[in-house]
Amino acid sequence: MKHLLSAGDLSRDEAVRVLDTAAQMAATQAREIKKLPTLRGRTVVNLFFEDSTRTRISFETAAKRLSADVINFSAKGSSVSKGESLKDTALTLQAMGADAVVIRHHASGAPHTLARSGWTQGAVVNAGDGTHQHPTQALLDAFTMRRHLVGDGGRADVAGRDLGGVRVAIVGDVLHSRVARSNVQLLHTLGAEVTLVAPPTLVPVGVGSWPARVSYDLDSMLADGPDAVMMLRVQRERMSTSGGGFFPSPLEYTRSYGLDARRIGLLPEHAIVMHPGPMNRGLEISADAADSDRAVIVEQVSNGVAVRMAVLYLLLAGETTNVKVDGK
């Protein structure tokens, strides 16, 4: 593995390896001294062209816990606002000796361009590009599901296991969601069954080719007994007006597709509720659903650090193969 650009690039074995490594990383994060010397002397650049709180902080924490040097770069307040291109920004970072570039960009495919262009020799990690991919989010979601739903919840017994037979409902704004795209691919690779639940207007064109079923009715899907329900954020910044013509009104969306206490009551005993954050409380998820004991939303955040530590470890710790830019 040289870059992490798309959840679809991971084979089952590679994905399980990331999850197993993340489990060991998570164990180190329970210690009093959380810092490890593993990536001492390596430099990780967080290149963020789009706003983000948890992903950037999560990557920064992960890199620092492994003793890498972290340089944070956000487009706001940088030369990008003077019109600098991605290429020149990348060449600057290369000149500064970045071993890994964690990139978030509003344009789908920007990380791919960066990885294949030869502008930087470091590993490229996609931290979310447009409406395309967010592979580390999918990995941390899979990690969270494996912890709760596979084996008896112990850490050691799930090593080497995938998500075979786990049933997952992904609910909400699938159209604009890179989280949904990455999760569908990764969960399918790991053997889980995915059902997308969304109003017809928020289902992307071409969904028929995805390895997932589609449903328009949340209540019947929940009554069907999924093991995990993943609520997606309604991305109103990517819609023009309040509902953007995608749904009549926020209230109507909430009635049909919002998760509330009543709908949680429909779920089986063991099912977990997930959300990639940031949440629109009162829109796609009610406050009592978000704070219920079924919700693992806060745990997803701490698992995110462990998963990103694992990704950085697997990309950076081994033999330096930076000579060739292409090829995993």
Binding site: Q24, T28, Y313
Partner: protein, 206 residues
Amino acid sequence: MSSGTAVPADGTPTGAARTEPAPAAPDATVVLGPPEISRALTRIAHEILERNRGGSRLVLLGIPTRGLPLAHRLAARLADVEPGLDAAALVGSLDVTMHRDDLAHHPTRAIGATDLPAAGIDGKVVVLVDDVLFSGRTIRAALDAISDLGRPAAVQLAALVDRGHRELPIRADYVGKNLPTSTSERVRVLLEETDGRDAVLIEGAR
């Protein structure tokens, strides 16, 4: 792994399966067989108890892959001699991968589990257990890992085989067998738990 032998280089997930059966090289010489290994461990167990005046403060930390089964065997022998000891509560595993100084020179290694006994290691006498003591770099990594986990009263080192060629000022307190080797030779330790049989082999001897 100081021997340069035992860790699966391709990063097979530890704990998922036994290490692949070691194909014995045609020129391998068996240096220790099952009875010798058993006797060496019994002697080391007695030495540990003698040196530390009993086993009340002991913790045995095995370094994966093959240090861990050795630590379990030592603990069982300690418990045989000192009836008050609980063998299972003595043993932990200490993965040193993330503290190694040679990560950049090898393909990415799989990270093993670190599990400390419930009582922790603060104020205890920690006996590190490894199969082969070679350059000493694994032990240096282990000492760093220990200092992140707590502050033991003392750290001692037990190795089944000491093959020499130290690159750091490190020595073992308990040695099963001193094995003079040349650097071109490979020393392999095979254990029932990981490889299906007990043996210490030297390969590449001319």
